[in-house]
Assembly symmetry: D2
Homo-oligomer: 364 residues x 4
Amino acid sequence: MSGNTFGKLFTVTSFGESHGPALGCIIDGCPPGLELSEADLQKDLDRRKPGTSRHTTQRREADEVRILSGVFEGKTTGTPIGLVIENTDQRSKDYSKISQQFRPAHADYTYQHKYGVRDYRGGGRSSARETAMRVAAGSVARKYLEQRLGIRVRGYLSQLGPIRAEKLDWSQVDQNPFFCPDADKVPEMEAYMDALRKEGNSIGARINVVAEGVPPGLGEPIFDRLDADLAHALMSINAVKGVEIGAGFDAITQKGTEHRDEMTPEGFLSNHAGGVLGGISSGQPIVASIALKPTSSLRLPGRSIDVDGNPVEVITTGRHDPCVGIRATPIAEAMMAIVLMDHYLRHRGQNGDVAVSTPDIGQV
Amino acid sequence: MSGNTFGKLFTVTSFGESHGPALGCIIDGCPPGLELSEADLQKDLDRRKPGTSRHTTQRREADEVRILSGVFEGKTTGTPIGLVIENTDQRSKDYSKISQQFRPAHADYTYQHKYGVRDYRGGGRSSARETAMRVAAGSVARKYLEQRLGIRVRGYLSQLGPIRAEKLDWSQVDQNPFFCPDADKVPEMEAYMDALRKEGNSIGARINVVAEGVPPGLGEPIFDRLDADLAHALMSINAVKGVEIGAGFDAITQKGTEHRDEMTPEGFLSNHAGGVLGGISSGQPIVASIALKPTSSLRLPGRSIDVDGNPVEVITTGRHDPCVGIRATPIAEAMMAIVLMDHYLRHRGQNGDVAVSTPDIGQV
Amino acid sequence: MSGNTFGKLFTVTSFGESHGPALGCIIDGCPPGLELSEADLQKDLDRRKPGTSRHTTQRREADEVRILSGVFEGKTTGTPIGLVIENTDQRSKDYSKISQQFRPAHADYTYQHKYGVRDYRGGGRSSARETAMRVAAGSVARKYLEQRLGIRVRGYLSQLGPIRAEKLDWSQVDQNPFFCPDADKVPEMEAYMDALRKEGNSIGARINVVAEGVPPGLGEPIFDRLDADLAHALMSINAVKGVEIGAGFDAITQKGTEHRDEMTPEGFLSNHAGGVLGGISSGQPIVASIALKPTSSLRLPGRSIDVDGNPVEVITTGRHDPCVGIRATPIAEAMMAIVLMDHYLRHRGQNGDVAVSTPDIGQV
Amino acid sequence: MSGNTFGKLFTVTSFGESHGPALGCIIDGCPPGLELSEADLQKDLDRRKPGTSRHTTQRREADEVRILSGVFEGKTTGTPIGLVIENTDQRSKDYSKISQQFRPAHADYTYQHKYGVRDYRGGGRSSARETAMRVAAGSVARKYLEQRLGIRVRGYLSQLGPIRAEKLDWSQVDQNPFFCPDADKVPEMEAYMDALRKEGNSIGARINVVAEGVPPGLGEPIFDRLDADLAHALMSINAVKGVEIGAGFDAITQKGTEHRDEMTPEGFLSNHAGGVLGGISSGQPIVASIALKPTSSLRLPGRSIDVDGNPVEVITTGRHDPCVGIRATPIAEAMMAIVLMDHYLRHRGQNGDVAVSTPDIGQV
């Protein structure tokens, strides 16, 4: 299939441009019988929604999602779920400049090269606006995972530029505009962002995502390993430049005796593996971490070229997130949930008659 | 499809256990007319082959590959290419212990949970032995990329545990057992490995892979972005715990003005993006970096459980790589080549009639 | 992926129930640069639309399609094309009976078994109403095939119950409510349908579809042969029970000397193959024929069971097509166009560098 | 993926040319724990094997299959099963003529056009020799279906040219070289074949395949309907020109009251649907019928062209089946089994938590 479908048994196919009439997606393969309403999706969409604090873009989108199919009398029917969000705040604007220039570090140049044409309004398809549909689709996955399997997928911002969260207090994550789990760091982050905004610059961030309650056995080696599909899913999010599972890059300098997670009848003694061994979930929490680059839309001028190859200086005005990482937590959660959902169904399909006699040891 | 196929138009489907009769794969979608012989594949296989230095496993495998189909009169015909490598050095050995225990940080526990059964001889399917077929398949991709498109994919070991390569001299890479591009560091690495082997421990490593000559336009947003598929491919390699594209995790602390790669009529001025913008190749070198965990097979005892859930102490004797990263360079090259080949064909399929008028600027 | 996506490079993913809020689909992989407007799609949709003659269901649906993405300034951009048709004539009705009974020869029983739940309003997902999206998607494929490649896909009703068309006059096909190419048979068909409607019964039909101008080379043996994918596509249309390529079932009694299509420098001398040899297009017209079963919704009572397994007598009132074949011609055309489009892109992807030196002989 | 993989969860990927070193396939997704040996596969391969009666090609192939992976201690492990059959009887022969000519009704012309090159020895990839791997893969599916689910897939030749079987006596099918279920017709068929061979001509045939014991619920509408996937699978077999499910083309002239299969608490009263309603199995036997064209390799001269476009007269000597239908029964059984296996796993994956409360009525 082409590039806008993710998953094998639980598939998400997406469409929509930043300033087109609407965004939408089709979720195919959701098991029947799950209670589902637009409110379920809205809850997650509102967490990602722009314009909720001064630290994100001031574009105002209601992001109101409509369920067009696949739900009957409040429950999923097993048929594809069609979702649509109409774009409402497509601010009329003069696009003549951006249509003739390639903004540095944006997808303008590569889309033009690939397709010979591009919808330059707000970045078109390459805009992070498409992530709204990832969140909506992830919402369906998360609900199934939680209600049927007791799997909880949660994320948080662990680093904003130079500022690292040092405590992981889940109860704090939704209490600040950064999804930061360390309340003590929030004032510092606010000050940092204010200064950055004034400067007209942007900054990168790190997001961690954790899935708890994942049963052992998910993942299809050797290519569709659970960690490989997670890497695919997470790296497909706009602005992501790196993905780690468990110890990640720290594993380079770890010795075998340090990295290996020893096991006892009471459970694993550590989780450097991040919950995946040999591409298959181990029953420990699945732990992933991603790096997001700084936003490329800056008020500070940058050198670039125009469509004829002439040098130009580009300044990006308009409404932009100075740190795309700030709104990325719900997106990363969504992608992890979609991967887990897909792999749960795949595992059930191929191994549904496996009677597991293995000791099921606890989490760390 | 199930988990042992990679790619959409250039697909690699693999089989084989560490101590089964043979390994093999089917390459489907290789364009016709490419000159191809077993010697082409053997060259790359020999670079990955075990037992070539004292720093890798002493298992002796000839890794002789046979081409069973898809090549006629020395050229590919467009039909699937079947490859087989017979396993020859399946040392007869007492597996009674390993069959009853789960080695820590190995896939024993997860395979048992997933399938209810496992071929415990040498790790079965989860053994890195399967990567031989990745290298063979990657060889076909690399030959096409080089001969038809002038794309060169090369990798090197950039870090061995605490020791970092500080120079990138491509001519050195194949001159030492580590694929290290910095000749000055080789003695230090040798000494480190000797001590490690004596200690019975293992260590992680970092491999970098670079593709030069990649035309702009490859990658299929939004899910099958080039970087996302690279992350999938690279994370699917045994022992990989992290993947970076371009600046990777350094992007977290970069400001927008620093990270964005400015463009001039003469080319990009930097390559923090790693050659991918919006999920599509930019014409710059594609740069990826991966972290490999230390080998889990150690002579030093580790706590674990047996199949009945009782605590056991596990010692792994036998022939093992104390640093799996040492032999991983050809594997990483292979996976990047397979991804590029697949995306080249996909791009040509969907955009074959695009007349590109965009300025094609140089590499940095 | 799950079951609501068709195609590999040109993919159509569909959603929507008969009496839900809307139908929709996503077309992924359409090459950029194709002029496309809603009017293009509407033209084909109007040919399939219900309620245009007394011989089809009297349900009145405007079937107005909206393009939500993938088109910019009147041309496709290469990004996914989202389409939606809102359902307008969902006549409020008492569904209590149908919710408790399984209509014979309908999908009620099997949907209930598969999903444990079903949207019984008008057949839900199993209603032929979903074919509207096939027609819309097929429209995009047909436009590309015609404008870029000179491929024309056309169909006609060749048999209505016992009445066979004996002449193939393409100019007549759109001049009567049956898509019948033999004007002389139309009065007979009208009389037959009037009697049938009075009787409360239904009848089967045969549709033929032909693609002219197809270049040799399309089709990917051995499983994704062009004829195999056509069979998949055509058999996936509601009510289809048989698919033939070329001579079809007549081939059973043909001798080799009769069936084989001899070739001369001026072209093939016959087309028993239906334009496909070895699963690959030969340059001759692609010819397929399908059998559609009679509608199962009848006013004449039939024996069945209710959800508790008790015997019931079922009478289906409401608005139904007494011959689903009558409106099936545009649907069959659409599916053939989608298959050809997909295979054209696949062939271009994998064989785009093949320089064909073979004599290209004419059509018969 | 490319064209040599069939299935989504139970996938078969195949390679091999008629006169290359070997044929092979990879079965991915077979559940673990199934007892499997080479003897299981050999049994079915021997039924398809050439040279077992005077009515089929006299090529002598042992068709000895080796299992290279995926089976451990006599049971499947859930990892991919690699199979290989070495070609032994590649009679050395002068191919200079066939390399320069296109045999009429063969794939010579289309392969040359598609790939620009072809392995002309014995038809290369387009030879029916590849069907050996279908049979081997089908064998695995059949064993699982029978042992785990009580599903039995069986086929028979229902028509040989003008001669129709009039009785269906399953016990006769393996008692004659035609897989004919009507013993009374066998002498007539033998005489017919003898005359045909003397004449140097060939003839078509019809094969029926039936699956009994299939639970209701298999099939993934709307595109991956069970009947659509069966049509795909069966039409992908060499020489097949038509596929019917249930009533097939007879449905054209059936009235609704005749075609619809009424239901009672004791079961369906007929099976015109062929066991599929709305693309989903109904619990009745799945019934399919296929038409095979006459062999194109004839001693009687036919007009054709050579690679330069000049007219030539082609005579095919060598060893050929005068009726490919004769050996096609095991192949059709194999493809139906593969489809059912794949859909069983898909259904279990997506609907594994459905508690079916529907009355499960009997077969007819």
